[in-house]
């Protein structure tokens, strides 16, 4: 048996570009020619394609938690969908638990427990227990074992008191726990968790992170996608950063942070932000990457800049922001986090 739970080699997925959706043609694809009248048409015109995943290589070891990070539209959901057999790759291969995702799709499905679309992936008109019993049958668990397993998971997910109520009466966190219990039913060796803590309150998210860590201790391999950097940092043994359909960095969280350790992060909080100011700050020698985001409803902005030498850069930054109605509220020089690694590599924040 291979040492790797999941292997992907040069995985590519292209979709036909839809008119008016902003889908960009893949690099190197011929531009769509002007449509001829039907009587002048000969061969079918080539269709413009949008490349969602562009040659992804992954090797996820058995028993590790692997975090896949990327902004919206980076290709992480498409990659997950190819790994769990919902999508066929345009080219390249993927193996899960040693099985090819196209040729041995059913063996792959038996090896996986997947949480996709969270609370929407279960039936709201069934109770929590009925949902689990239903999916236990779909995952081919014998009836006698299924009953015990459902009871065990209901207990583990702490929903025993409300297991017989309809899911429509549950909170988001409870529904998410049922979705996770569903993924664990057949005790699959590999778990794919797509944004498992999305929409959960802090306490529920913390409980779920603890559960994920326990599942790793029990021997499960876990592929996790998340928008929360701290979550990926805390849970993952290794992290792959994906952007524009490619894995642009892959290492342990510590090694990734080490990459920009010689750099410093200048973090400002200010009011009266305007785009011209951004242009002026980017022109300052020593300022590498600049990201901004508004904090809440108020006119308070957080501005993050990477710099090799903050001592030399700071006076020029302060000079640039003075006047024009901009007011500096707070300023810090901080140690790089995984979020900063991400910004350094992709030029954008994870939630962009």
């Amino acid at each position: 048996m291979s040492d790797f739970a999941i292997e992907a080699s040069q995985l590519v997925k292209k979709f036909p570009a839809r008119a008016g959706t902003g889908d960009k043609p893949a690099e190197g694809a011929a531009p769509t020619p002007k449509r001829k009248p039907w009587w002048q048409r000969g061969k079918k015109e080539p269709q413009a394609m949008f490349t969602a995943v562009n040659g992804v290589d992954l090797q996820i070891k058995r028993g590790e938690i692997f975090g896949l990070l990327g902004p919206n539209g980076a290709g992480k959901s498409t990659t997950i969908r190819m790994l769990c057999t919902l999508l066929e790759p345009t080219s390249g291969t993927a193996r899960v638990n040693g099985f090819d995702t196209v040729k041995n799709a059913n063996d792959v499905r038996r090896s996986l427990g997947t949480v996709l679309a969270g609370e929407r992936s279960i039936y709201w008109k069934l109770s929590g227990r009925e949902n689990l019993e239903y999916f236990a049958a779909l995952y081919h668990i014998p009836a006698a074992i299924a009953k015990k397993r459902v009871d065990e998971l209901i207990e583990r997910m702490e929903i025993k008191d409300r297991a017989n109520e309809l899911v429509e009466k549950y909170s988001t966190g409870m529904r998410q726990r049922i979705a996770i219990a569903k993924a664990l039913l057949a005790r699959p060796p590999i778990l794919l968790l797509d944004e498992p803590t999305l929409g959960l309150d802090p306490q529920a998210a913390r409980n779920l992170r603890e559960l994920i860590a326990t599942l790793k201790e029990e021997g499960h391999t876990i592929l996790l996608t998340t928008h929360y950097m701290e979550e990926a940092d805390q849970l993952s043994d290794r992290i792959g950063i994906i952007d524009t359909g490619k894995v642009i960095a892959l290492d342990t969280p510590e090694n990734l942070k080490q990459r920009i350790n010689q750099k410093e992060i200048i973090r400002l909080e200010l009011t009266g932000w305007h785009d011209d100011l951004g242009d002026r700050l980017k022109e300052i020698t020593g300022v590498e990457t600049l990201t901004t985001h508004q904090q809440g409803e108020a006119d308070l902005w957080e501005v993050n800049m990477h710099s090799n030498n903050s001592r030399a850069t700071l006076p020029r930054i302060v000079e640039a922001i003075s006047g024009n109605g901009t007011r500096l509220v707070n300023m810090n020089i901080v140690k790089p986090s995984l979020e900063d690694v991400f910004i350094q590599l992709t030029g954008k924040a994870l939630r962009d």
Partner: protein, 285 residues
């Protein structure tokens, strides 16, 4: 630490999965109680318009009915129209419910979680059709009782032969539903097709009038539609005393079209499911 899967693949597991789909669909169905209202009201309301039109056209003394009797061989125009509309209603509901069963799962978000399991994919369509069949057979029985009670229809024929025709019609009626369901997974939208098909059945298959009223080319086209034979056979079995001899030809044609439509439904399902995996349509809603 090794993780040992609890799954035990095999034929019996596939049968249990199919049964689980049937139970799930039935449980969800009965938790929307509005279906009881539809079950009782629709069979009365739907043929009413046609019946009143027929009564108006037949004259106050019913003298116009002689022509009807000469063309159809039947005196009970109410029963004639009621049976025709009942079969049309059946096919129409199957197109909407079975035809949209996978699409509804897709919109709810549950289609993907079903598709992630190792169960035979056709089970989802087949399994969700079983409760639909039960509810439709109930609808047909309720319709028959209501027609007898409220419209005074006399079912002079054989109940057993009527049941036989209805059971034999299931493959043709549901095969068409499966074909629709398969197309809808990738096309997302099939309202126009449903309207077209039910319109064709309404006009070509003579749900309220004898086929002899139609021009020759329409009569010829109607011979290719299984609903033509179903309507004729149910009328003969339930309203006349012709017995098995009166329905034997219709029955063989119904079964023939049943095999054809089931095969078309299955092949379309396999093709469209593969296409959806290539295009990513399974998860789009």
């Amino acid at each position: 630490m090794n993780v040992n899967s609890l799954a035990v693949p095999g034929f019996s597991s596939d049968v249990r999965a199919f049964w689980a789909v049937v139970r799930r669909e039935w449980t969800v169905f009965v938790r929307y109680p509005s279906w009881i209202v539809s079950l009782l009201i629709w069979p009365i309301i739907f043929p009413m318009g046609y019946l009143l039109t027929a009564r108006a056209l037949s004259g106050v003394d019913g003298s116009g009915l002689t022509t009807f009797q000469n063309t159809t061989g039947l005196t009970d125009y109410v029963g004639y129209i009621a049976v025709g509309t009942m079969i049309w209603m059946w096919q129409n509901i199957v197109l909407w419910s079975v035809g949209y069963s996978l699409r509804n799962e897709q919109m709810r978000g549950t289609l993907e979680s079903n598709w992630l399991s190792p169960t035979w994919r056709f089970s989802y369509l087949l399994g969700s059709s079983v409760p639909q069949m039960v509810s439709m057979i109930t609808l047909l029985v309720v319709s028959g009782l209501e027609y007898a009670l409220f419209f005074g229809v006399k079912f002079n024929g054989s109940i057993l032969l009527t049941i036989l025709v209805i059971l034999a019609s299931i493959p043709a009626v549901y095969g068409l539903g499966f074909a629709f369901a398969s197309i809808v997974i990738t096309m997302k939208e099939a309202n126009a097709f449903v309207f077209l098909v039910r319109g064709i059945v309404m006009i070509f298959c003579g749900i309220t009038y004898p086929m002899a009223m139609l021009p020759a080319w329409m009569q010829a086209t109607a011979q290719w539609l299984p609903q033509t034979y179903i309507i004729h056979a149910v009328r003969t079995a339930s309203l006349s005393t012709e017995g098995f001899a009166g329905i034997s030809h219709d029955l063989s044609m119904i079964l023939f079209f049943g095999v054809i439509w089931l095969a078309i439904g299955y092949v379309l399902f396999v093709v469209m499911e593969r296409r959806a995996r290539k295009t990513g349509a399974i998860g789009q809603y």
